[in-house]
Subunit: 205 residues, 2 copies
Amino acid sequence: MPPRSYVSPARSAAAAETRERVIEAASRTLREGESIARFSLDSVAKAAGVTRLTVYNQFGSRRGLLEAVFDEIARHGGLHQLADAMTMADPRAALDRMVEIFCTFWSRDSAVGRLHDAMATDPEFAEAIRERNERRRRGLTALIDRIADKGASPQARKDAVDLIFALTSYPTFASLSAGRSRDEVCRVVQRACRAALAPLSNPSS
Amino acid sequence: MPPRSYVSPARSAAAAETRERVIEAASRTLREGESIARFSLDSVAKAAGVTRLTVYNQFGSRRGLLEAVFDEIARHGGLHQLADAMTMADPRAALDRMVEIFCTFWSRDSAVGRLHDAMATDPEFAEAIRERNERRRRGLTALIDRIADKGASPQARKDAVDLIFALTSYPTFASLSAGRSRDEVCRVVQRACRAALAPLSNPSS
DNA sequence: TATTGACTATACATTATGTATATCTAATTT
DNA sequence: AAATTAGATATACATAATGTATAGTCAATA
């Protein structure tokens, strides 16, 4: 006799709600905690009012929970505005806008800093975050191709992409954030990114 | 009766030797290991042919060992050349040289990458490494003051210092190292640092 | 009314860091 | 030569974290 199975609206809704509650508790714990070292599934479970095993049941592992938190932050981080930015007529203005969007993203929820810390101890989590960052690199590549002169070498384009990728990364943002507001950091990064475009302009044109 | 104590040349020499052996084993373990998560005092002790307690006896804690490894790498990393670089007549050439020295430093021993990873999980270790990096910022500040025009604002100087500080940091080096040789990374960073000096030049002069 | 899905309770295995105590051995001191 | 001392070892223990296993609870569903 095959086991009869069913989908339960009320059940899955309740499960989704606890899932949200755990993610919320996790990001709160990340925000308030001193370091990622203090981030334990035990504390998260307690903060969410569930058992540690419920966390495993929902996310499979510590890594799964961290990825879910990152995805939640990304969902509410304003990255959807990138689509509009990329279609701007002036690619240099689009780059400025892209920097602005990412500065806002990195500063919106301080839990992202802790998530980047988690990359250090969990290579697979690091890879997952890197994959999510590759979208930034692809957008950047398209933008650079629009900005670069015909004569600009592939190497010069690659250099510009990778340099701006590094400039718009979280570590750079965090480094410049000491003693600066989000907008001030944004302006500094924008200037540096514009300067990184110089080698793409053919002096003969 | 007060306990008589003495210093033993043979003893302290042997202790220093085991200390060196443990540091060597630790940096080797960091280099060869997949991630900092796998770095345990147990494995280091085994690799060094001593007991885990000997490691505690010599370094006090995991953090102490990591700091000792960093200091050992710094001693052999060529940072002493900074003194010569800073006294160069042309401050822009000095900056180029400084970038070169740090690119060499970051690339010399891949254990430095793992040590930076360790900063994520141990705030006090992170602080210790940051203090060691402040020397770079101070040198940079002095250099920028020599390069900047009289009219350059303090804010513009600070921006240049912090931006170049970020550009010469390990995370930037690591990010640009994907698919690039040390020298190639060096050239990219040098260009970016030179570009960061532009706002310091008074256009009226 | 029987079954199923999400969560709970409890227990266990494993791995790390860090501390405590007693012991061993070779280098020094008296 | 004998006592002592510094460094290393052996063994044990406390604590905390991840992850797995097994059985039980309870409301939603068939």
